[in-house]
Each structure stands twice: as structure tokens, then as C-alpha cells.
């Protein structure tokens, strides 16, 4: 029987992968993907908690959908920034993006 803890473990694993990717990857798109990993890990948590703790309500699902919506907006913005940076300066490596730095 697959219980709550299984879901939580999967989510935690996903989250850690996301963190790892955010911290170590040089490519900005990979960093963005890492962030998506983290957000989805939370989504899994929310849905799982909802299912096991309060099945009658759908709060967790609603929250998850919200996060998906926000994440979509955030990704499109992030990609837009990365794309325009790439077009103008041919940059994808995150540590080379220092135009606004002091």
C-alpha cells in the first residue's frame, strides 16, 4: 500500500534534485528547470496532503493549480529574459550575467 510518506519521499527527492540543479548548473535554462522541479515537488506535497489528510476538501488541489499558474508565468518571464539576453549578448551561462552587478 502506497502511503503518504511515499509521496513525501518522492517530493523530497524531486526537491533536492531541483536544489542541486539550481545551485550547480551553469546554464540558465537548467537553473530554471531546477526551479520548476522544486515547485512541482511542492505541488506533489500539497496534493498528497490533501488526499490523505482532508479528502473532502480540495484546498490542496486549488493551491497546486495556483502554483502551476504562477510557475507558468514565472517561467515565461524567466525564459523571456534569458532569450533576450541570449539574443543581445549571447549569454546562457548564469555567472556571466553581470550587467546589473554593481
Amino acid at each position: 500500500m502506497i502511503g503518504l510518506s511515499h509521496y513525501l519521499l518522492v517530493a523530497a527527492a524531486l526537491f533536492c534534485i531541483g536544489v542541486y540543479s539550481v545551485i550547480t548548473k551553469k546554464n540558465a535554462i537548467a537553473v530554471l528547470m531546477g526551479i520548476e522541479f522544486m515547485l512541482n515537488a511542492i505541488n506533489i506535497n500539497l496534493v498528497a496532503f490533501n488526499h490523505f489528510m482532508a479528502p473532502s476538501q480540495v484546498i490542496g488541489q486549488v493551491f497546486a493549480i495556483f502554483i502551476i499558474g504562477v510557475a507558468a508565468a514565472e517561467v515565461s518571464l524567466g525564459l523571456a529574459i534569458i532569450l533576450s539576453l541570449y539574443r543581445q549578448r549571447h549569454l546562457v551561462a548564469i555567472d556571466e550575467m553581470d550587467i546589473l552587478k554593481w
Binding site: 536544489v19 550547480t24 552587478k101
Partner: protein, 620 residues
């Protein structure tokens, strides 16, 4: 007729507006507009004066220009209106008459000047302001027009603004007057604070009941600062000689006959304030007397024809102020009236001469009597009147002043006055013998001026001869009134002649003329040798007692120095303090910035470690 009083200043104002708005490009039309409107004012002034002579009652009308209320109660009222009494009527006549003559004269004098219309506009504005001042019924309105005549004086002295000397002189005149007006302004505000009104009539009622002499003393002296500035009393006299940089008709109108007399007029108008405290009157008398002597001595050695006349004006204004100070308003006003005629005549004559010779140095003139007889002989009449020769206008008024000085037991001032009479005759005839008679020293080609210029000279010459007669016993016997009974303060004074004083002052004047004749016409005594002999005194007089230099030093070192000090405080101390704070924050930022490496992923690592740590700590 009194109800038309407001029209007297309004006509020149309309002329000003017409010239500025419509006829600015049509030069001659501007002059005609200005002159004809001024003539209209003159007729009004004459008819009002005649009516006043028939029934000398005072009329006062005003509107509330501005009223402030607090809790439905009026706390401040500023009035604009007119007060028509004999004093105002006489002054209106003088101003409109001289203004009309000067305007007529200026048509010839200013011919061909680029600013012809501007000139006539300014004079119209001046006439408006001066008349507004004359008919004013309260100190506030007086102050308003007081400043406006000052403005017109500034504009007209600096009329040829491209001449640095003229620009300097106009600025000097305005600022010197501002110092004096500062006192005047504080004085009238003090009057309002203490007595709750600016109105002359109401003030005279409250002041005569008031007991606190200290307040009256302070306020009287403060208000008197205004007249001191406008009438160029020592130590505010410095602007008047420099004001001669303006066109000569302006010197005649503003800086001899009318505006400078405004100070005298104001003292006469607010006489009750000054007369209520003896020490104020004494200050007024001695400042007047000192200025009279001081200016007369400087006039002895000047070379510029207009400057000589300017110092003479200063001296005569001092005379009038002295008369007011010793307690005779009528004699001061009488001298103001006669002086207006003959000094305007002298200035216009000087203008005519300058117009012909194109030079202002009297030593570059000479031999003018054949070439321009009307100018020369009217000038001589003016000089005789100024020197106080019987029976010309100056004789009567000067005599009157000396008499009252003696009557009020000011022996020192009487001697001083007689001495000034001698000096006046001397420097005027020095001017005449050098500049008008003798040889042509510079080869100039002078010729008589046109009729617009000589006609005013003739009219003023006639007035200079006969104007004094209105205050003689004979006139009083003939008509039952005289200048001093018409224009009385407290009780009418019937004119009498004190023959001893008359003889004494005539002797003084005659000997002055005689000395001038000996030195400058016969050349029995060399003027140069005299100058060599008294070199120190001569230089002192030539440099006008170094007052200008002292003021210049005070301004440059004192005021500008203070400005530099304050500027330093502003820039170094205050900016230093505030910018220093900013710099401190900035430099600490520079140090703290080292924590910010700018590596995004490093931040993220720290972030996650921190969150993990907090979570573990929280769970535990």
C-alpha cells in the same frame, strides 16, 4: 471740485497706459499724449487750488482696498483714497506744473533718442505715482506710492542703461532709498501696531492723546528715516549727486523739484507725529541744518554743472528740513514751493546749456551769454532767486526760514543758515561767471534752443520772480490771506518782515556774489592758488568728504564679505555635515559590499542551507 481729485493722478496713468499700449512706436504722438494729459491734470489742480483758496476745508474719500477679518471682526484695513486739503492742493499744483513744463521741454531735449516713447511713459508713470503720494490719506498708500516714485526714479536715472555709470547710479539710488524705506516701513507698521490705523487724520487724533513719548520717539525717528532717504539727508545723500546721470529734465523734475521734496512733504503731512516729541524735532532740525552746510561746502569746488546744482538741491532740502525741525511747517513748505520753481528753472537751463555745448564741465563752457541769451538770463534769474536776492522768490522763503529759526531760539542753526546763504550765493555765481560769462574756453558752437525748451524756462523764470510774493505782508493786506495762513498748522501765521534778518541774509548773499565776482570774473584772487593753499580741505571737498568711498568699502568688505562667509558656511559646514553623513553611509556600504559576491548560485546555496538549518531546528 474735490470729487475730481482722483482724476489728477489718473490722467497721467492713462497717458502711461496709452503710450505703452498704443503709441509706443509713434514717438511724437507719445510726447503729445503725455504732455496733454499732464496739462489736464494741471488744469484740475489749478481749479481745485482756487476752490481751496475760496473755502479751505478738507475732504477725504477712500475705499477699503483690502480688509482682513478674524472671527467676523475686522483686524486690518488697508485704504486707498485721497485727502484734499490746502497742503495737498499746493503740492498737486507744483507737481503738475513742473511735470507739464518738463514734458514740454523734453520734446526738444530728447529729440532723436531711441527711447523717446519709453522716456515719456516713465515720466507719466512718475507723475501718477507722485500725485498718488501727494493726495494720499494714509501711511500705507503713501508707502505704496513712495516706493513707486522710487521705482520711477530708478528707471529714469538708469534711462541710458548702456552707460555703466547710469546703471550704477540708478542702482545706488534705489538701494540707498531702500535702506531708508526699511525704517519707514518698520515705522508705519509700528504705528499700526500701536494705534491700529494708518490713516493720517485718525492717527493725529490718537497721537495727540498719547502719553508714552518713548514709543512716539522711536516711531517718529523710524518714520523719519523714509524722508531722510527720499530727500537725501545726510547720511543718505550719496544717491542724489549720482542721480545726475539721468537725462537733465529728469533731474529737474524728480531730483530737484518734486520727488526729493516728497520727504519734506511727508514730514509736513505727518507733522503731528514728529511735533509731538521735542527730541525728534531737534534731530530733524539738526540733520537738516547739517545737510545744508555739508552739501553747500561740497558744491564750492565741483566742476560738473549738474553736480553743483545737485549739491545745491541737497543744501536747500536741508534748509527745508531744518525749517520743519525748528517747528515751522509753513516756512518749510513755502521754501519747497519757491525752490521747486527756481531749481527746476536752473536744471532746465543747465540742460539747455548741456544740449548746446555737449559737455557738463563748467570749465569747458564760457561765453554763452551772446549765443543763448534766453537760457543765460533765465539762469541768472534762477540763481538770484536761489541766492535769496530781494525781491525774488528765494528771498522771501529763505528769510522766513531764518526768522523762524531765530524765533524758536536755535541760534546755532540761524548762524549756520546765514552761512549757507553766503555759500549758496558764492557757488552759484562761481558757476555763472565761469560757465556763462567770460571767454569760450573749448571752442564750442552753442546756439539757442528751440521754443519748446525756452518757453518753460521763461515761465519758470517769471514764477521764480513772483512766487515769493504770496507770503508777503503786502499780499496779505491786499487779499486777506497768504501762503502761511492758507497752509497753517495749528494756528495761522500772518507774514511779517523782520528787517534786521532780511538785511543780514541779503548782506550774506550779496557778499557771496561779490566774492565770486572777485575771484572768477575779475580774477583778483587766483582760485588755483586758493586751492593750493588749502590743499587738504580742497581735496576733501572735491572727494565729497570720502563718503562714497566709505560706503563702497563698507559694502564690499562688509556686506559682500558677510555673503562670502555665509556662503562658506552653507557650502563647507552644512553641506559638509550632510554630505559627510551620506559619505559615511556610502563608505560603510563599500566595505559591506564584499559580502555580496554577486554569484547567484552561491546565494541560493546559502539560502537553502539556511532553510534546511531552520527546518531541522524547528522540527527538533
Amino acid at each position: 471740485m474735490d470729487q475730481f481729485t482722483w482724476l489728477i493722478p489718473t490722467l497721467p496713468l492713462i497717458a502711461f497706459l496709452i503710450i505703452v499700449g498704443i503709441t509706443y512706436r509713434f514717438k511724437l504722438l507719445s510726447a503729445i499724449v503725455a504732455t496733454s494729459f499732464s496739462l489736464g491734470s494741471l488744469f484740475l489742480a489749478i481749479s481745485i487750488l482756487i476752490q481751496k483758496i475760496q473755502s479751505p476745508k478738507t475732504t477725504e474719500t477712500f475705499i477699503n482696498w483690502l480688509t482682513l477679518t478674524a472671527n467676523q471682526q475686522t483686524v486690518l484695513t488697508l485704504q486707498m483714497g485721497y485727502l484734499m486739503d490746502p497742503l495737498a492742493a499746493v503740492m498737486c499744483l507744483i507737481v503738475t506744473l513742473i511735470a507739464t513744463l518738463v514734458l514740454l521741454y523734453s520734446i526738444g531735449y530728447m529729440k532723436g533718442d531711441d527711447g523717446f516713447s519709453r522716456y515719456f511713459a516713465y515720466i507719466s508713470l512718475f507723475t501718477f505715482s507722485m500725485l498718488g503720494l501727494v493726495i494720499s490719506n494714509n501711511y500705507f498708500q503713501t508707502f505704496v506710492f513712495w516706493e513707486l516714485v522710487g521705482l520711477c526714479s530708478y528707471l529714469l536715472i538708469g534711462f541710458w542703461f548702456f552707460k555703466p555709470a547710469a546703471a550704477d547710479a540708478s542702482k545706488k539710488a534705489f538701494i540707498t532709498n531702500r535702506w531708508a524705506d526699511f525704517g519707514f516701513l518698520v515705522g508705519i507698521i509700528g504705528l499700526f501696531t500701536h494705534f491700529g490705523t494708518f490713516n493720517f487724520a485718525e492717527l493725529s487724533t490718537v497721537i495727540s492723546l498719547h502719553q508714552n513719548t518713548l514709543v512716539l520717539l522711536i516711531l517718529g525717528l523710524l518714520v523719519f528715516l523714509g524722508p531722510m532717504g527720499k530727500s537725501a539727508m545726510f547720511p543718505f545723500h550719496v544717491w542724489l549727486p549720482d542721480a545726475m546721470e539721468g537725462p537733465t529734465p529728469i533731474s529737474a523734475l524728480i531730483h530737484a523739484a518734486t520727488m526729493v521734496a516728497a520727504g519734506i512733504y511727508l514730514v509736513a503731512r505727518g507733522y503731528i507725529l514728529f511735533a509731538s516729541v521735542d527730541s525728534v524735532m531737534i534731530v530733524i532740525a539738526y540733520i537738516g541744518g547739517f545737510t545744508a552746510l555739508f552739501a553747500a561746502t561740497i558744491a564750492l569746488v565741483q566742476r560738473d554743472i549738474k553736480r553743483i546744482l545737485a549739491f545745491s538741491t541737497l543744501s536747500q532740502l536741508g534748509y527745508m528740513m531744518m525749517a520743519l525741525g525748528v517747528g515751522s511747517m509753513t516756512s518749510g513748505m513755502f521754501h519747497l514751493t519757491t525752490h521747486a520753481f527756481f531749481k527746476a528753472l536752473l536744471f532746465l537751463g543747465a540742460g539747455s546749456i548741456i544740449h548746446a555745448v555737449h559737455d557738463q564741465d563748467i570749465f569747458n563752457m564760457g561765453g554763452l551769454v551772446k549765443k543763448m541769451p534766453i537760457t543765460v538770463w533765465t539762469f541768472v534769474i534762477g540763481s538770484l532767486a536761489l541766492s535769496g536776492i530781494f525781491p525774488l522768490a528765494g528771498f522771501w522763503s529763505k528769510d522766513e526760514i531764518l526768522t523762524v529759526t531765530l524765533q524758536h531760539h536755535f541760534m546755532g542753526l540761524f548762524i549756520l543758515g546765514t552761512l549757507v546763504a553766503f555759500l549758496t550765493a558764492f557757488y552759484m555765481f562761481r558757476l555763472i561767471f565761469i560757465a556763462l560769462f567770460g571767454d569760450n574756453r573749448s571752442g564750442h558752437h552753442a546756439h539757442e534752443s528751440s521754443w519748446t525748451m525756452t518757453l518753460p524756462l521763461l515761465i519758470l523764470a517769471i514764477l521764480s520772480i513772483i512766487a515769493g510774493l504770496v507770503n508777503t505782508p503786502w499780499f496779505y493786506q491786499w487779499t486777506g490771506m497768504s501762503f502761511s495762513t492758507f497752509l497753517f498748522f495749528k494756528e495761522p501765521e500772518v507774514p511779517v518782515i523782520h528787517w534786521s534778518i532780511a538785511v543780514l541774509s541779503s548782506l550774506a548773499a550779496m557778499s557771496g556774489i561779490l566774492f565770486a565776482w572777485i575771484i572768477y570774473s575779475k580774477q583778483q584772487i587766483s582760485a588755483d592758488k586758493l586751492a593750493q593753499r588749502f590743499k587738504g580741505a580742497h581735496t576733501l571737498l572735491l572727494k565729497k568728504y570720502y563718503i562714497d568711498e566709505i560706503y563702497g568699502w563698507l559694502f564690499n568688505k562688509g556686506l559682500l564679505g558677510l555673503g562670502k562667509v555665509f556662503n562658506f558656511i552653507d557650502h563647507i559646514l552644512i553641506d559638509g555635515l550632510f554630505d559627510g553623513t551620506a559619505t559615511l553611509i556610502r563608505s560603510s556600504g563599500v566595505q559591506l559590499r564584499l559580502f555580496q559576491t554577486g554569484r547567484l548560485q552561491q546565494y541560493a546555496l546559502v539560502l537553502f542551507i539556511a532553510i534546511a538549518a531552520m527546518t531541522i531546528w524547528g522540527v527538533r
